[in-house]
């Protein structure tokens, strides 16, 4: 075979091989006949390899590298998304479908929202939702405010004991939340706020960690900006809100988003301080719901789907900022 022929034959093997391999891998978790999917994936891989052997041009090589990368990433994405898919699909199943063995991959009727109705009738999810919104909004707004003020003080102002105070605060970050919970609980009980929504907000109106992040961002703003403004008669307060906060908006948005997610998902603290049903937030409400509905997993899944939806929406709306924030802070969302 001449070179050209080899190349054409290689491409003809390569292209369907890649397709077969990708399809095989994708269908692996979904299809009924698993052996067929495995066969397709393996056959596709073999064809790709043979095609590559015949046609080893630079273009094919980069194409292969890219394909392999995307296949691996897709696989990762499938693994990560599967629990969500499982939750969502279960929410539309009937009790009988839930108990099938082997489990079915999809509900019979994707439009049967009966589980949602039952779930919402069983527990006051609307109330939980309201509580969650109130708590998240209050703590996020107040935290943002205190964080901005703290970050400004530690990055720009000069006052005695600044360094010591700052290292003290940083060392407090080492104390795990679980230890603070005990003293926080005692405080809340003592001032008579236990079993109120205030108890859910009060311990979370400032954050050393976010202050630290924002301080670092503020410190990176050149001194010249500050002195230009000061020379023009700008006060610290005005400089903070007119110059620093607008410049720090990306960092601030990240902080607000991370804070909102953490606050929305907060579970242990409400479990401790909230007794009354009407003061529960969503995650806690969901938890009590499990005990109330017993083994009715489809109802639980319906409720869970609703609970996670706002955060998923938030994530899609502010994906870039969250990803940047996680990358910058090296923190888990």
């Amino acid at each position: 075979m001449d070179k050209r022929g080899k190349k054409i034959a290689g491409t003809m093997l390569y292209v369907p091989g890649v397709l077969l391999m990708v399809l095989g891998i994708i269908y692996l978790p979904i299809t009924a006949s698993m052996s067929l999917a495995v066969a397709a994936a393996l056959g596709g891989a073999a064809m790709t390899a043979a095609g590559l052997y015949l046609n080893h041009s630079h273009k094919t090589k980069t194409l292969t590298a890219r394909t392999v990368r995307y296949v691996l990433l897709s696989l990762g994405a499938v693994i990560m998304m599967f629990p969500f898919y499982w939750m969502l699909s279960s929410a539309f199943k009937t009790s009988a479908e839930m108990n099938l063995f082997p489990p079915s991959m999809a509900p019979n009727n994707w439009f049967d929202y009966g589980n949602f109705v039952v779930a919402f009738e069983t527990a006051p999810f609307a109330r939980y939702f309201m509580n969650s919104v109130i708590v998240v909004l209050s703590s996020v707004v107040i935290t943002a405010f205190t964080t901005i003020l703290g970050a400004f003080a530690f990055s720009r102002l000069k006052f005695p004991g600044k360094e010591i105070l700052f290292s003290l605060l940083l060392s407090m970050m080492m104390v795990p939340f679980e230890i603070l919970v005990i003293t926080n609980y005692q405080t809340i009980v003592k001032i008579g706020l236990s079993d109120t929504l205030y108890a859910l907000v009060l311990p979370f109106i400032s954050s050393i960690f976010y202050t630290y992040i924002l301080r670092n961002f503020f410190s990176s703003i050149p001194d010249g900006l500050y002195w230009s403004a000061r020379v023009d008669g700008c006060t610290n307060w005005r400089y903070l809100w007119k110059i620093m906060v607008p410049i720090g908006r990306p960092a601030l948005m990240t902080i607000i988003l991370l804070n909102a997610m953490a606050s929305w998902n907060s579970f242990m603290w409400p479990l401790l301080v909230i007794k009354r049903d009407t003061n529960r937030t969503l995650p806690f409400g969901l938890y009590s719901f499990t005990t109330e509905v017993g083994a009715n997993n489809e109802l639980l899944m319906a409720a869970s789907s609703v609970v996670v939806m706002p955060m998923i929406l938030l994530f899609f709306l502010a994906r870039k900022q969250i990803v940047n924030g996680v990358a910058r802070g090296g923190i888990k969302g």
């Binding site: 900006l225 002195w227 020379v231 110059i243 410049i247």
Partner: protein, 353 residues
């Protein structure tokens, strides 16, 4: 505005950044604060601005003691090396910001900003963000922002250092033009002697936190007060010959000696540095005992004249030689000294005789 500093001193812990600095600057001039990096120029400027508190001494603006006055009450405009523009505001927003702080009505703000933009030739850039501007344009905006509130004093801290060579030349002429037009007293910090020489009415030359000389650029060049001033100004740098003053002659360590006009001012036998500008050598046709017999090492053509790299008595030096003389590398050249551009500095103290 007349700016006067009396015994101005600034210490940062053990670092003595500025020492007993006294100088009175004239109204309406462009004054360069010149000196090598780290000599305390920015520190002086920041004390004038009120950004840094002084360790000692006083500052007077038009005779009024402003040493303790906060920055916003001093009526100054500031421009930094890195422009320090507000990145989230447009050019117009940046220029109007100082007026906004002073609660100037909006249409007045815009009118004055536009006028400023007109003066700076950047009317078309008003709704751009700083990121969308070149370095030179950003510096124009910074200057416009500093000038829009009609300051009594404009302070510029190395405003051209971040620009490339061609733009630097253009911008310094621009700054001079605007200064002449607005007549605002301007203090311009730079470490570039050529920059200072070309645009300023007066130069304040500093070293290690001490004032070296305050004079007109040409005076600084023609009549340096000490060794440092002579060394710092001029391109090519001044030539230094170590030796002692003899009877009307200058005698080098090697024993080589030559006639030196004006050396009578120096006490006999004193160890000195003879400093000679490259343009102060005169080539002689004939050898004579009172001339320097220098060896020509290499030559650079400069059009109408040549720059010769020479050696005499163990010291290398540069001299401009008229083209017609037609010297060649390796030959011996007989030189005498002019009276102008020849200085005698004490070898120990650097003081001029």
């Amino acid at each position: 505005m007349r700016v006067e500093m009396k015994g101005l001193t600034k210490h940062f812990g053990p670092t003595k950044a500025v020492n007993d600095f006294s100088v009175a600057l004239d109204d309406g001039e462009l004054i360069c604060l010149l000196g090598p990096s780290g000599c305390g120029k920015s520190t002086v400027l920041n004390m004038l601005a009120g950004i840094l508190p002084v360790t000692g001494g006083q500052i007077f603006f038009d005779g009024e003691d402003v040493t303790a006055l906060p920055p916003e009450q001093r009526g100054i405009g500031l421009v930094f090396q890195n422009y320090a523009l507000y990145p989230h505001m447009t050019v117009l927003g940046n220029i109007t910001f100082p007026l906004e702080i002073q609660n100037v009505p909006k249409d007045e703000r815009i009118r004055r900003a536009t006028q400023m933009a007109h003066l700076m030739h950047m009317e078309k850039l008003l709704d751009r963000k700083p990121k969308q501007l070149s370095g030179g344009q950003q510096q124009r905006v910074a200057i416009a922002r500093a000038l829009v509130k009609n300051p009594r004093l404009l302070l510029l801290d190395e405003p051209l250092s971040n620009l490339d060579a061609r733009l630097r030349l253009e911008m310094r002429e621009e700054i001079r033009r605007i200064q002449l037009k607005t007549q605002v007293t301007t203090i311009f910090v730079t470490h570039d002697q050529e920059e200072a020489m070309s645009i300023s009415d007066h130069i304040v030359l500093m070293k290690d936190g001490y004032l070296q000389q305050y004079d007109k650029p040409q005076e600084l060049y023609n009549e340096p007060d000490n060794q440092f001033v002579a060394d710092f100004l001029g391109n090519p740098p001044i030539n230094n010959f170590p030796g002692i003053a003899g009877d009307g002659h200058f005698i080098m360590a090697s024993g080589a000696k030559f006639l030196c006009p004006g050396i009578q001012r120096v006490p006999q036998g004193r160890a000195i540095n003879l400093a000679v500008r490259s343009e102060s050598f005169v080539a002689q046709e004939q050898a004579a005992p009172q001339h320097m017999a220098a060896a020509v090492e290499s030559l650079y053509q400069l059009g109408k004249e040549e720059m010769a790299l020479l050696e005499f008595g163990g010291t290398s030096f540069r001299a401009y030689i008229a083209y017609e003389i037609g010297i060649k590398p390796g030959q011996t050249l007989h030189l005498s000294l002019k009276e102008r551009g020849v200085f005698f500095f004490d070898a120990a103290t650097g003081d001029r005789y």
